[in-house]
């Protein structure tokens, strides 16, 4: 979604990292700035945008449960810090989800906040002098995986 609206210089990498646990470390290795965009667990209503810095994470002021099986951001950063290869700055741009159940789409409140999240990521980059500008002609995101199934899974518990 970010890529559909904004373009960045070649020194910016946009990665879909999933939930790699400690395997996150190699991707954060020696970066100047890391912005993590994900779902966050906060005492706010679904769809609320929450922005945290590394201190919030380390001090656990932010009760982070970024995804269903916790990608290990805190541990990866701590490890990199000790090894001397931590990113100079870490920011988490999070949205409070409606639910973390099984599925492949976004809930309506998360989807509506996502464009605000995207604009905030661009602002954070620009504020730090990083090349990032709005595309002249925005592209529609190709969310092909949301269609094409015959059966919709309903969690039964």
């Amino acid at each position: 979604m970010f890529r559909c609206k904004y373009e960045c210089g070649s020194n910016v990498e946009i990665l879909d990292l999933g939930t790699p646990g400690l395997d996150l470390a190699p991707y954060l290795y020696a970066a100047d700035l890391v912005i993590v965009a994900d779902a966050v667990h906060a005492q706010e209503k679904p769809g609320t945008l929450c922005i945290y810095c590394e201190d919030d994470l380390v001090a656990r002021r932010a009760q982070l449960r970024l995804t269903a099986h916790d990608p290990g951001v805190r541990e990866s950063i701590a490890l990199l810090r000790l090894a001397g290869h931590a990113p100079s700055e870490l920011i988490i741009v999070g949205v409070v989800p409606e639910s973390c159940g099984l599925g492949k789409g976004f809930s309506p409140s998360v989807l509506s906040t996502s464009s605000v999240a995207v604009d905030n990521i661009a602002r954070l980059l620009v504020e730090r002098g990083i090349d990032c500008h709005r595309r002249h002609a925005p592209v529609q995101p190709n969310l092909w995986w949301l269609s094409g199934e015959r059966s919709e899974f309903v969690a039964s518990r």
């Binding site: 939930t19 269903a68 094409g148």
Partner: protein, 565 residues
Amino acid sequence: MARISIDPITRIEGHLRIDVEVDGGTVQKAWASCTMWRGIETILLGRDPREGWVFAQRFCGVCTTVHAIASVRAVEDALQLEIPANAQYIRNLILIAHALHDHIVHFYQLSALDWVDITTIPKADPARAASIADGVSTWRGNSRRTLEEVQNKVKGLIGSGQLGIFSNGYWGHPAMRLSPEMNLILFAHYLQALEFQRKANQVVGILGGKTPHIQNLAVGGVMNAINLNSLATMNMDRLGMLQSLLQELVPFVQQAYFVDACLLGASYPEWFRYGRGVANYLAVPDLPVDAKATQFDLPGGVIMDGNLGSVRPVQNWRDEAIRAAVAEDVTHAWYLGEGPQPPWQGKTDPYYTDFREDGKYTWVKAPRYNGHPMQVGPLANVLVGYASSHPLTRKWTDEAFKRISSLSGPNVTPEDLQSTMGRYLARAIRSAMLSDLALQHWQLLTANILKGDDTTYNPPKFPQHEIAGVGLHEAPRGTLSHWVVIDKGAFSNYQAVVPSTWNASPRDEKGVPGPYESSLLANPVVDPSKPLEVLRTVHSFDPCMACACHTFDASGREIAQVKVL
């Protein structure tokens, strides 16, 4: 009698709960329970088999690649579709790089601190540590200066009074027995490992287009364009980059990781006596060296009752015996169904009951091979290779045995490998083998391209009738199989039998426990409030519950909790 419940047991990510009953200082009974349910198979029903791998690689957040590979292999098997030699080599290089990354992370970040007590590091003499390390290895990261720097970092960490992510270790536990110098050497490599995980990732990224979640696969081959005259495709520059990355990775594996695993084996000889568990082993052949996949660089086979002489080789992926032998039992798992179900007929209908030790207690099904529980993983890989006189397996296994005895450790035999320490050593042996194979497969790819072959893809054609296939892969944690049924060009069934399902299996209808459960029996537990020994044995399997179980986590717990009941 003390009842200990450890939840979750995996060091960072994962959802494994282990319950043990301890009496007289040893484990008498054990239960392995997975507290999450994986449901991606359900999402795959009705979808186009050509895109199945894109979803399947989300089974697990860590081992994404392995599921992508098993998925395309399953569909190719159903279609009996051969893929080009270049596609085999490119896939193999990705698999080797991924496996090396995974094994390095397991040894250092996920389990070394069960054996290495970092709180003793400030007492180490860095000069002595450097001389010990130089005596056993030519690794460049063992200099006195390097070790001093690491020691200062640890002093700083301990001095701050905030151990942070290290605050959960069982520091000072009587079962921690390495000298401060050895702890310093291993912890230095623990930090250096990060750089090499990155290099392994870069190999996957160059070939896969992106990592994690590679983009280059297709049912029928790979989507990498090969043209030595084009800047945008696989050309000599890219091949050169791959070669240098692999050449940098190999020394870390052979001179640091492999040597460290031998040091652990020599320092903790008693752990070759604990943790045997289920002595039936299953490994499938992998790293095919020809388009038709008739010859493999990693052998497969089946060993029953720990009898290495009885090994039945598995020659290739068409092995009929495996297809007929595998079934999953849900007597003790939170699913509906009765009796063992072959995966092609398998169902995944959840039925949650809460933890009932005599009833259902886990989200993991109980896979069985002709009715028997099987242990999978690097140990199965190494035992099968050793028993079938596979030269590369013998080379590195014998080298490990020689090193351990020269360090005044025990005289280890292949029989002794069937243990907690054996699983650590086997993973290091397999990594050393893979590091040799990395450059060989790079050579196979380069030679084939220079010969003028630029094909990477054979297009699939789907019949209107029902077909079934199985995709096999010897993944870092062991044998992985994806079982698919395709009807009118869409998935009508999809079942993944993953390595940790074999190893974390619950009891079956006959009450026979799985590998984790039985490996814990007779394990010592000196202090039930600090069950370090239980962690050692469970971690020796490299547990990864994200994919073993079928995603639900209502708890959001971050760090292991130990409850002594």
